[in-house]
Amino acid sequence: MIKIEGLTIHLGSFCLSDLSIEIEEKGFHFLLGPTGGGKTLILESMMGLHKPQKGKIWINDREVQSLPPEKREISYVPQDLALFPHLKVKENILYGIRAKKLNPHTFEEYIQALVRVMKIEPLLERYPAHLSGGEKKRVALLRGLAPKPKLLLLDEPLTGLDPSIKSEIQQLLKTLHTSFHPTILCVTHDFEDAYLLGDKITVFINGKIEQSGTKDDIFLRPGSRRVAEFLGLKNLYRVRVLRPEDSHQRWILGLNGFQFSAPMGGHLSQSEIGEEADLYVRPEEVMILREGKPVKDSLKRNVFGGEIIDISDRGRYHLIHVQATEGNVLFEISIPNYAFRNLGLWVGKRVRIALRDESLWVMK
C-alpha cells in the first residue's frame, strides 16, 4: 500500500493542503482533475522534487517524505518523457539498473520480457531523436519500469497523441499492467482514459480531493456536483427535499413544481425536509415509454410527459432531449440504436418518459 497522508505543499501560486490518497499495491490508480490544478506538483512531491510543508508519504512500511528522490524507488515518467538524448534506447532503459548498481543478470529476463511486450527490440540501438512519438512513449515507460520501482508515476501519458497512437498506448498500458503488475499512479485530465484504465480513481479539483473510489463510484455515483460537472455529466438538478413517502422509504424531491420520488439511501438517508441537494439523472437509465403500453408499477412514481426537442445520432447510441411539460425541466436521454428505431421518434413528438430508480443519484 502506498499512502499519502495530509500532504501540504505551497509552491509559487499553488497551495495544496491536506491531501490524502491511498494506492493499493499492484493497482492502477488515476489522479483525475482539470488541467493546471497542481496534479504534476503532487507527482513531483511524491518523487521528491519538492519538500512538502506537512504530511507523510508511505511506501509500504517506509516513510519516504524526507528521503531524496534516488532513495524512494519511485520512477517518474514526465509528460515530456525526458528520454536522455545522448544515450541509445538500450542505455536509456538500463539507466536505472546501472544508477542503482543493481545486478543486471537478475533483471535480464524481466527486461527482455518488457522489451518483447513493448516491441522495442528493433529500437534498442537507436537514439531517441530517431523515434516516433509512440516509440518514445514506449521507451520512457520501459525505462521507468526497468528497475522494478515500488511506484510508477505517469504524468498525462495519453495527452497530445494522435488517436491511433493513443489507442495503441492505452492498450499497451493495459497489457503492461495485467502482465507485470506495477503499482501505478497516473495523472490525467481525461476522464475517458481514467475510466478505461483505472481501477481506482481520485478526483482532484481546485487543490482538493473531491472523491476517491472505483470507476463506478466516480462515474455512476459522483460524490458532488463539482465531480459530476467535471465528468461532463448531464441532467444535474438542484432539488429540495419536500416530504417523505411510503412511510419513509422514499423522499419526494421538488424542482420548479416538478416532483421526483427517490428511494432512501446514499446521501438521502441523512437529509431533512427543506434541505437542498443535487440530483443526477443517469441518461442511460431513463426510458421512453411506448405509446399505449401499460406502465410497470415500479416505474409509475416517476413518469413524466414531455416533447422531444432534439435528437442526435452518436454512432453507437442516440441522444434524445426531452423538455418536460411541467416545470420546464430538460432531460438528456441516451437510448440504444435498436430502441430508437423501434420507438419511432422525431423532433416535436410528445412522449412519456419514466425514470427508473437506478437513474436517480442524489449528492450533497
Binding site: 518523487m47 531524496p68 514526465p78 525526458a82 545522448h86 531517441p128 525505462r143
Partner: protein, 264 residues
C-alpha cells in the same frame, strides 16, 4: 515583382555579412604588406617573443581553468536553484563587462595596498608585477563572463532530465555528471573556449596589475603594445598575426566541436 524584392532583401542582408568579412580580412591582409621584410624573422625568433607566446598560452589556460572551477558550480546554482541574493550575484557577474579593464586592474592595485592585500602579498603569493598577477587579472576579466555563458548552456537543458535521473536512482552529482554535463557539453565547451580566447587577448587589467616587463610579465597583447611604442613594427605584426592565428583557430574549433555533438 515579389520575387525580385525577396532577392533584393536577401542580397542586402548577405551583402552586409560579406562586408564585415571583407573589412576584417582586409585588416589582416594589410599586415602581410610588411611580412618577410627586414627584421621580420629576427623578431619572430626573438627569445622575448617566444617567451610572451608561451606566457600568454600558460596564463590564459590557468585563468580559464580557475574560472571554470568556480564558474561551473556557480552557473549551475544560478540556473537551477532559487536562493536569496541570486539577482545580486547575477548583476555582479557583469562588473568586468561594464568596468574598463584598466579600472579593474587599478582596483587590484588598490586592494593589494590594503592591510589584507599586503598580508596576501607578504605571506602568500606575490601578485603585483608578477606572473600570478597576470592570471588573477585575466581570471577577474573572464570569471563573470564564463559563469554567464555556462549558465546559458545549462539553462537550455531541461531540469526534467535530472529529475528523471534522480527518480531512477542517481544522486544529484551523478545526475549532473551523467546527464546534464554530457547534454550541455557542447555549450560548456564553447563557453570555455570563448573565455580562453578573451583571457588570451586581455590587455588592460593585465598590464595595470602585472606591468610590462619583457621576459617576465609581458604577454602577447602587452608585447604588441610595447613593440608599437618602441616603433618595432615587424615585431608588432608578428605578434598580431600569431595572436589572430590562435584566436581564429580556437573560435573555429568551437564550431567544429558543435557539429560533432549531435546524437545521431
Amino acid at each position: 515583382m515579389e520575387d525580385n524584392e525577396k532577392m533584393n532583401f536577401r542580397y542586402t542582408m548577405i551583402g552586409a555579412a560579406a562586408g564585415i568579412f571583407i573589412f576584417y580580412l582586409g585588416l589582416i591582409l594589410s599586415l602581410f604588406y610588411f611580412v618577410g621584410g627586414k627584421g621580420f624573422w629576427e623578431a619572430f625568433l626573438n627569445p622575448y617573443t617566444l617567451f610572451s607566446i608561451q606566457l600568454s598560452l600558460t596564463a590564459a589556460t590557468l585563468a580559464t581553468f580557475f574560472a571554470v572551477i568556480i564558474g561551473l558550480p556557480s552557473a549551475y546554482a544560478l540556473s537551477r536553484f532559487d536562493f536569496k541574493g541570486k539577482n545580486i550575484i547575477d548583476t555582479f557577474l557583469e562588473i568586468p563587462m561594464i568596468v574598463s579593464p584598466i579600472a579593474l586592474g587599478a582596483s587590484f592595485l588598490v586592494f593589494f595596498n590594503t592591510p589584507l592585500g599586503e598580508l596576501i602579498q607578504n605571506k602568500g603569493i606575490l601578485f603585483v608585477f608578477e606572473v600570478p598577477g597576470i592570471i588573477l587579472a585575466q581570471f577577474a576579466t573572464i570569471a563573470g563572463l564564463t559563469t554567464r555563458l555556462m549558465k546559458a548552456s545549462l539553462d537550455e537543458i531541461s531540469p526534467r532530465y535530472e529529475a528523471v535521473a534522480r527518480s531512477l536512482g542517481s544522486s544529484p552529482w551523478q545526475a549532473f555528471y551523467r546527464v546534464t554535463l554530457p547534454l550541455s557539453f557542447r555549450g560548456l565547451l564553447a563557453s570555455v573556449i570563448l573565455a580562453w580566447a578573451k583571457a588570451f587577448g586581455e590587455f588592460g587589467a593585465t598590464v595595470t596589475l602585472a606591468g610590462a616587463m619583457p621576459g617576465k610579465t609581458e604577454t602577447m597583447p602587452i608585447a604588441i603594445f610595447t613593440a608599437l611604442a618602441s616603433a618595432n613594427i615587424e615585431k608588432a605584426i608578428v605578434l598580431i598575426l600569431i595572436l589572430m592565428g590562435f584566436g581564429l583557430l580556437t573560435l573555429y574549433g568551437v564550431r567544429l566541436t558543435g557539429k560533432r555533438y549531435r546524437y545521431d
